[in-house]
């Protein structure tokens, strides 16, 4: 069980209000990702849920029970920290056993759960090593193991993959997703990486300056961003946002079109421009096209084997059915 409900929760550090009143419900078994740029308050929000920071006002309930003033250990949540926060002087086995030891779990039960967690996380061969002798990915798994054995109501992950190299990050992303499918426990995951958010989440919460900009499934956010911020944040590469006369043609203050929704042609199209930098990824090519009359270059996706190069004249045609329109306040026009 692990339904978490925040009701008009605020947090101030002295006179600075980091989180203005905020309401959010995380359903039992859901994989929720908090995503936003650095300093948007997503880690603070996670620490409020964990109980590591006191909320300034409002109410947090876990499974319908008021948990606002419950100490962290009694909330039934387990947290995986960015730095892993393993205990360096203890072996992997003792690290994983620590929460059970504190809870007074009998030794046989402790050993049973350690063996089970170690088997699930491929740590069996490393149980007697110290954290200092492990690689980054292994440390990450130990931290997850330490969380699993508590059999918590929900897992909290605070940017757990940001210290890993790119290849390992993709692997751990899969492992955490699989873990969620297997355990079916609520997970809250904080990241600044929208790719992690898109690939892992059941529900994404986009935050900016402590304010929830939009909540929804990855595809909802991709298809219908509620405002310009979400439009620019979700999707990779970023959506092209245009203002001025071009937007006015569509009765909007700002229009947005994703790189994958622009057709590129050498003969005809709506906009004409010159190719600047091109990024060849093999499967795709991203062109940065400097268009006549626009300040910023547009990013356009093309196939992997397109024979266009720097300085070529091209024409671009946006897919009008996939055009996003926003008003002067930055809100989506339906």
């Amino acid at each position: 069980m692990g339904q978490i409900k925040l009701e008009s929760v605020t947090k101030s550090f002295g006179p600075v209000e980091v989180i203005p009143p905020l309401d959010l419900t995380i359903e039992d078994g859901e994989f929720t990702v908090f995503v936003g740029p650095s300093g948007c308050g997503k880690s603070t929000l996670l620490r409020l849920i964990a109980g590591l920071e006191d909320i300034t006002s409002g109410k947090i309930s876990i499974d319908g029970q008021d948990a606002t003033h419950v100490p962290p250990a009694k909330r039934g949540l387990a947290m995986v920290f960015q730095s892993y926060a393993l205990y360096p002087h203890m072996s992997v086995r003792k690290n994983i056993a620590f929460p059970m030891k504190m809870a007074g779990v009998p030794v046989e039960e402790q050993n049973r759960r350690i063996e089970a967690a170690a088997a699930a996380l491929n740590l069996t061969d490393y149980l007697d090593r110290r954290p200092g002798q492990l690689s980054g990915g292994q440390r990450q798994r130990v931290a997850i193991g330490r969380a699993i054995v508590r059999e918590p109501g929900a897992f909290l992950f605070d940017e757990p993959l940001s210290n890993l190299d790119a290849a390992l990050r993709v692997g751990m992303r899969l492992e955490i997703s699989e873990l969620h499918k297997r355990l079916k426990t609520t997970m809250i995951y904080v990241t600044h990486d929208q790719v992690e958010a898109m690939t892992m989440a059941d529900k994404i919460v986009v935050l900016q300056a402590g304010v929830i900009e939009q909540v929804g499934s990855p595809l909802e956010l991709y298809r219908a961003p509620r405002n310009v911020f979400v439009a620019g944040f979700i999707g990779s590469p970023k959506m092209n946002l245009l203002t001025g006369p071009e937007a006015a043609k569509h009765n909007a203050h700002t229009i947005g079109t994703r790189p994958e929704h622009i057709a590129i042609s050498q003969t005809e199209g709506t906009w004409s421009g010159t190719i600047g930098v091109s990024e060849h990824l093999g499967s795709d090519t991203f062109f940065h096209v400097k268009c006549d009359g626009f300040d910023d270059p547009l990013t356009v996706r093309a196939g992997g084997e397109v024979a266009l190069k720097y300085g070529d004249k091209v024409f671009l045609t946006p897919d009008l059915t996939q055009l996003h329109r926003f008003d002067a306040q930055g809100l989506r026009i339906a």
Partner: protein, 288 residues
């Protein structure tokens, strides 16, 4: 430092410092060994020739020898215990965010800047004096009979004075060690359900073990040779005669350089025995 040339250049450039330090150590050591085998009484005939191991036998068979070893070990042990226990507690206290932290930290370090002679005199005359001392007034205020500290509780008084001087050192080293403790570790332990006391025992104390070892070793080196505190307070009376003080008495009060030098050699042996024991007990903490 890869090439043959740069390595030999480095050796030549380091040589003056190494030679100077080596001489600084070897000359006194060799002179001590030299004199310890001689009957040398500067005011009563000077160098009276070789006497073999006579000085060594006389020094160790003196009735003051074993009590002086005992006093030395009690003082060293007592000061170590007090400075490390209170050093850890003070370091934890000073690590808490509080108003006026900078000033409090400087104040805590202050005793370390006071010369041993001065601090011992201040303690002797202002605190421990049985008539005018602050402690005497305090005792009288509660209707108790003032204690003449330096004669009735002489060893404890010396331990108190020396601990006061060395507490800042221990606190400082332990404070820097505590500051390097990753706060996420403590938070993780808190999430794992550890009480403040278990967090101290399972996280903070193991983290401090290396710093405690450093404090233990460095302080032992200096505490084995404390002198000024005894010289200006009890003058070695009331069971406070340490090995260092006994050697001083033999050389300067009895004007017997040979006998004192033999004592010096014993002091070297004692220091090495203590060092071996300490390294056996805590040395593994220094391994990375």
């Amino acid at each position: 430092m890869a090439t043959q040339h740069s390595r030999s250049a480095a050796r030549i450039m380091m040589a003056p410092a190494v030679i100077l330090l080596l001489g600084w150590m070897l000359v006194p050591l060799l002179m001590t060994l030299w004199f310890s085998f001689k009957k040398y009484l500067p005011l009563r005939g000077g160098d009276l020739g070789w006497v073999g191991f006579d000085n060594y036998v006389r020094f160790i068979s003196s009735s003051s020898f074993w009590p002086s070893i005992q006093a030395t070990l009690i003082i060293v042990g007592g000061v170590l215990a007090i400075t490390i226990i209170f050093g850890v507690l003070l370091a934890i206290l000073l690590n808490q965010p509080m108003w006026g932290q900078g000033i409090v930290r400087i104040l805590v370090i202050a005793p370390f800047f006071v010369m041993p002679t001065v601090s011992a005199l201040v303690w002797k005359n202002m605190f421990m004096d049985p008539v005018n001392g602050l402690f005497a007034h305090l005792w009288k205020f509660f209707g108790a009979e003032p204690i003449s500290w330096l004669s009735e509780a002489s060893l404890q008084s010396i331990i108190l004075i020396v601990s006061w001087q060395w507490l800042p050192f221990a606190t400082l080293i332990l404070l820097t060690a505590i500051q390097s403790l990753d706060s996420e570790q403590l938070e993780a332990a808190e999430m794992d359900g550890a009480s403040p006391l278990s967090r101290f025992g399972y996280i903070t104390l193991p983290h401090l073990s290396r710093a405690i070892t450093v404090v233990l070793l460095i302080q032992t080196i200096f505490l084995l040779s404390i002198f000024a505190e005894i010289f200006v307070t009890t003058q070695g009376a009331f069971g406070t005669k340490t090995l260092t003080y006994l050697i001083y008495q033999r050389v300067l009060e009895s004007q017997n350089v040979g006998l004192g030098s033999a004592g010096g050699v014993y002091a070297i042996i004692l220091a090495n025995i203590v060092a071996i024991f300490l390294m056996r007990i805590v040395g593994k903490n220094l391994d990375a």
